[in-house]
């Protein structure tokens, strides 16, 4: 029987957890709207002495660059995530089928890539010198992010434990081909895991600055995280620069508050995009995904 008290306890627990999560983020937001002098004098506080938008002004000082990099990132995220879902599920599904010959070998093949890594430079050489991913949008999509063993494994585990083998057998006996089974039976039943891996892939692409750092040369090809990171790095070093005009500039540039502003800018779109994924992940919980 439902226990009223348990439900209250659960709500209390979650309210506490939510506050623990939201309050720090709120602080970040408030600091990003505080003046740099105020921070230097009084530290971080929820009630700043001086509100200002100067941190955001500074970060957005080159709107064209920001828009370009947003565009790059949005494209690579959307396109990359879609392709990622396709090839990840295409690799994971066969691995979930008990009857597949050499299944153990291929699983090991995938798992090994999670555990061992050749290092940055040989990867760089293969991708850049040999495959010529350099200074174009594909360098943000393909290297490294398009597929990883971890996602494959999660999908495989889901397929294995959620799709009943009898279902597939029945379909087989009805004469359905493997591809049809995959597309018309398995995928519709796997919405939660597709949403999960879709979320992971989206986050991977959205947060990536690595590929930009290594492959891209012109700023117009950078991803948004890399642009933000550069703004911060250049600011830090500029403040130690010897040129008189540069130092004059940095004397008034908000450094710490810019950092917070960038965190907000980076998180913002995710907060908007996340409910979309959440719908598919949570919905299944009480309704139930698999019916006989």
């Amino acid at each position: 029987m439902e226990n009223k008290r348990t439900h209250w306890v659960i709500h209390v627990i979650f309210i506490f957890c939510s506050l623990a999560a939201i309050i720090p983020l709120l602080l970040v937001l408030i600091v990003s709207l505080t003046s740099e002098n105020s921070i230097a004098l009084y530290g971080y506080t929820f009630f700043p002495h001086e509100w200002t938008l100067s941190a955001y002004d500074y970060v957005f000082k080159d709107p064209q660059l920001l828009f370009q990099s947003y565009g790059n990132t949005i494209f690579s995220t959307v396109f990359g995530t879609l392709v990622c879902l396709c090839i990840t599920s295409a690799l994971a599904y066969p691995l979930s089928r008990k009857t597949l010959p050499f299944r153990k070998f291929f699983t090991f093949f995938v798992v090994f890539t999670i555990l061992f890594n050749g290092g940055l430079v040989p990867w760089y050489i293969v991708m850049k010198s040999n495959l010529h991913f350099s200074d174009n949008i594909w360098a943000l999509v393909v290297p490294g992010l398009l597929l990883n063993g971890f996602n494959v494994l999660i999908m495989r585990t889901f397929f294995k434990n959620t799709i009943p083998a009898e279902l597939i057998e029945a379909a087989n006996m009805d004469g359905a081909g493997e591809f049809r089974i995959f597309a018309q039976i398995v995928i519709p039943l796997s919405k939660p895991v597709f949403a999960t891996i879709g979320l992971f892939a989206t986050l991977g692409y959205w947060n990536d600055y690595w590929n930009s750092m290594i492959f891209q040369i012109q700023p117009k090809n950078f991803s948004i995280q890399y642009v933000l990171q550069n703004i911060l790095l250049n600011l830090q070093f500029l403040s130690q620069s010897r040129s008189s005009n540069a130092a004059a500039a940095t004397a008034n540039i908000p450094q710490e508050t810019s950092r917070m502003a960038m965190a907000i800018i980076a998180i913002g779109p995710i907060i908007f995009a996340y409910p979309f994924f959440q719908k598919f992940i949570i919905k299944g919980l009480t309704i139930g995904a698999v019916k006989g």
Binding site: H7, G43, I87, T99, P122, T196, A263, G288
Partner: protein, 321 residues
Amino acid sequence: MDTIVKIETNAMAVVKKRGTWKAILRHKVLYFLMLPGIIYLLINNYIPMFGIIIAFKNYNYSQGIFGSKWYGFENFKYLFATQDAYIMTRNTLLYNLVFIVVNLVLAVGMAIIINEVRSNLARRFYQSAVLLPYFLSAVIVAYLVYSLLNPDAGFVNRYLLKAFGVGDIQWYLEPKYWPYIFVITNAWKNVGFGSIIYISAMAGIDTEFYEAATIDGARKWQQVKYITIPMLVPTMVIMTILAIGRIFYSDFGLFYQLPMNSGTLTPVANVIDTYVYNSLKTMGDIGMSSAAGFYQSVVGFLLVLSTNLAVRKISPENALF
């Protein structure tokens, strides 16, 4: 007699081989499905693995990888030679063991409890909220923690401790509090995200199980214990094995940024990744950093193999491979 047995064994072998070949052909569509992924992994992951050999070489650019002199295990020595090396290895291991256990329990717990929230809106709100800390970078988290523990103007020293009448604590000079700080911060940052996997796994559990159980008079807690958790076991096992595979890696950002450069915290904050970073900061030695990476990978790999073997003995269908 012998010849007949031999002919029979040969015949069986032929039948088996023909059987395997037939099975392959029967599943050929599945192999085609796997092909793009396999090719990608080959190119993106396997081909670059040649780099591992650098760990054993005294690398020189002009001589290239194969021309450089063989160095044996020289590049690995700094990982074992000193007391510091022992400490940082111990730290890495202990922290990861605690993280694995704590995060597993909390993530699964959170997934289960969130399922019990009746209001759809509340459920979605809570789940989104606990996910937020994951998106904050380690630097930001370090500053947030600093705003709490700052000896000068930090919230804890200024308000909390005063309220209890306790004197100022120099948080950044006292190693003894930091194991707790790291565990709590790590959980706060990662549990919300980790629970997603379990939530989606739970979504795949057939509701007929729950319906049947309710009809039989099982209480909520019993349903959790006998249906939910066992059905989550495969996912838990996989996640744990993978976590064990990364037991010698750490969240560099967490251990490097949180202590705010306070060297006094080193005995509790130094892990393999920060140790390597500090060691090589002035030297940029390729071979040595490659050796560290190799060391971490090998240990993780061996542990995964052994854990997988153990799991295979207990419940074969949950093993990784």
